[in-house]
Amino acid sequence: VQLVRLALKNIRASGFRSLAIFLAVMGVAGFLLTTTLIIAGARYSLDSGLKRLGADLLVVPFGAEDKIETALLMGKPTNIFMPRNNLEKLVGIPGISAVSPQVYLASMYDSPCCAVSEMFIVVYDPATDFTLTPWLEKYLGRGLNEKEVIGGTYIFVPQGEKYIRLYGYDTVLLGNLEPTGTGIDQTLFMTLETAMAMAASSSSTAMERLYVNPDRISAAMVKIAPGEDAHRIALRILKEAPGMVPIESPNLFGAFRSQMNGLLWGFLAITVTIWIIAMYLIGIVFSMAANERRREMAVLRAIGATRNFIFASLLTEAALLAFGGAIIGISSAAIGLYLFKDLLAGSLRMPFLFPSIPSFLGFYGGGVALAILAITLSALIPAFRISRQELAIAMRE
């Protein structure tokens, strides 16, 4: 307690120096947390998207790999299809336990039932589906009937309405999926039955007619039998099912992941450089301060303070400044990032989901601990030197 009180008095006595160190720690710690949270948020978003997708392999028409990935990641429609009977070829491949088609039907722009400007409509087959059905069974206790739809987190029923009107056809929104930060959030899922009814209705109820060809699909979701190797099955699909390309689930959004990794290493290099420079400069500031305070420390020694007490008081001073700076810097960075997350995700063109509370607390604690460690290390040599100085020489100066 005495040590902390002395350190606090020293901090208050040298206001400008303390403020400079405090601001440096605040800036660097805030920058570190911001970069870490951006990367972690993008990863968390991708992982949530993949979990929601729930398939081991995604089989897409040859040449449409990037487009399908963009469709899922950003909710953009594709107009590349493959014949529905391709599913039969996949079912025949040993090691595959389930295959279900999905049709990326259309995009609605500035729809009143979607919180973002583009809404993506996906058709799934309830008879074979294994991705949405478990969620529906868990939350609704049944599958979707005709006219019923399920939406991503951005889909809602317009205020004052009972239905979501699509192509002049009224649909009932039964629920919303958890947020993923990917295109799934702006996606509306419906059965083929509903899509066909909507297409039939559109000829008389919509300004633009909707065409649904039940013999065409956009992608096939594939589930691998337990114990089978996904990579081996993917190779088998490539060999035995021409015209189709399998994308292994962990490799999905591969281009985006590699871009993100590049960003991660770039950010990491910048952060490490800034930390080293900050540590070096703070070390110099402490050395200068230590030189200035030689007599002060000598007086402390003369009135009975031990060398270890002086050493510890200087380190406590550094640790307190680091702690305060890191808390303020990291908290401001986290609040700023949370408030401006939509702007950030939009301008960086990447999916972003604020990390879960436990992982955020982990980053927060890690950032504060790193700041304290780094700044205490910077002050270590000056503190050691000043605590080991000869009393008589210091007093004479």
Binding site: C114, A115, V116, S117, Y154, I335, G336, L339, F340, D342, L343, G346
Partner: protein, 146 residues
């Protein structure tokens, strides 16, 4: 004590100027970040157009910014303890309403629109700063002599 008093008055002047800057930001930023400023409006069934709700939030924020500006200006010139405490309370209340207007009372538009990505978070930040500065002024005023 007189030096403490002088320091308190000086600090309150600084906080008053800070409140004036915050008030200007609260009144001006929404005017350039609402959907109307981006040329967006709601189409009506009769073919006409009307402003989106973020525009009304932006208008209401002027009514929030101007009183805060007055609070800041008064904080710069007034030296009486009780008056400074009252100004601090008023500043905090205006700060709370600055946050409530885009988040609860009127609201803003869709997720990707500028009013949601810039206007709402900026008003939340400036509203919070107004509250912190006003509370700071109150604490300082309480420490001052009459």
């Amino acid at each position: 004590v007189p030096s403490k008093q002088r320091r308190g008055v000086k600090m309150n002047k600084f906080l008053g100027i800070t409140l004036i800057v915050i008030a200007l930001a609260i009144a001006i930023i929404p005017a350039f970040t609402d959907c109307q400023s981006q040329g967006r409006s709601l189409a009506l069934a009769n073919g006409g157009t009307t402003a989106m709700k973020c525009h009304w939030t932006a208008q209401a924020e002027i009514a929030s910014g101007v009183p805060l500006l007055a609070v800041g200006a008064m904080m710069v010139v007034i030296r009486r303890k009780k008056a400074l405490i009252t100004l601090g309370v008023m500043g905090s209340i205006v700060g709370i309403f600055t946050i409530l207007l885009p988040t609860q009372l009127i609201g803003v538009c869709q997720t990707t629109m500028l009013c949601n990505t810039i206007m709402k978070p900026s008003l939340t930040v400036f509203g919070s700063l107004a509250i912190i500065v006003s509370l700071g002024a109150m604490v300082l005023a309480r420490k001052m002599g009459d």
